[in-house]
């Protein structure tokens, strides 16, 4: 019940296209859903995050869509650029005092020029 399932494992998109990464969870106590971006040789860095009281959050070309009833959330990257090529992780937290995150398995995105 603590798992966060992420798909696809890898994704190839042409420059200018839309990249979509999906995550699903079971634990209804999760109340914070961040996405992290990781470049090779670097640590993950927060990209965008959402709480379940909103259905969508947009920051520039990056949008999180959240479906509370389906227990799913997704990351959309509009106008994908080669510089977006990285590994993306979704995560979830249950809002406890520990701040622990449960991470998805990761998606490796390649944006072709």
């Amino acid at each position: 019940q603590q798992q966060v399932k992420q798909s696809p494992q890898s994704l190839i998109v042409q420059k200018g296209g839309i990249s979509i990464i999906n995550c699903a969870y079971e634990n209804t106590a999760f109340d914070y859903f961040p996405w992290y971006q990781q470049f090779p040789g670097k640590g993950p860095a927060l990209l965008i995050a959402i709480r379940p009281d909103v259905s969508e959050k947009k920051e520039g070309r990056f949008t999180i869509s959240f479906n509370k009833s389906a227990k799913q959330f997704s990351l959309h990257i509009m106008d994908s650029q080669p510089g977006d090529s990285a590994t993306y992780f979704c995560a979830a937290s249950a809002g406890s005092n520990t701040g622990k995150l449960i991470f998805g398995q990761g998606t490796t995105l390649q944006v072709k020029p």
Binding site: K42, L46, K100, F103
Partner: protein
């Protein structure tokens, strides 16, 4: 502004050897975390700390020990290294308030022969 610094960046050990990984943060964060990252498995929490002098087990704690004697430092120890502990280890920190992002270091790549 260094953020989260991990030492060393690379290390090769022989089976049975011991070593300590150091994580230092200069953001005065309350919470600190140690993760391991393995292909296709995302980031898995090893141990974490919600304050100086406190530690707790995460998802995969076996074979590891931690200490947080100073607020800014979080040490991860391997007492008797095993090949299954070959991985990339990440440290993260975050403020104590709810729904704050975790800030990651750039990792330690550890190989156990």
């Amino acid at each position: 502004n260094a953020g989260v610094t991990q030492t060393p960046k690379f290390r090769v050990l022989k089976t049975g050897q011991s070593m300590t990984l150091l994580c230092a943060q200069d953001m005065n964060h309350e919470y600190m975390y140690w993760y391991r990252q393995d292909p296709g498995m995302g980031l898995r929490l090893i141990h974490y700390s919600v304050g100086e002098g406190t530690t707790a087990k995460g998802e995969v704690p076996d074979g590891y020990n931690v200490s947080r004697l100073k607020k800014q430092n979080f040490l991860l120890g391997l007492e008797s290294a095993a090949p299954s502990q070959t991985s990339v280890y990440f440290c993260a920190s975050r403020p104590g308030q709810r729904h704050q992002p975790q800030h990651f270091g750039d990792g330690t790549r550890l190989s156990i022969l």
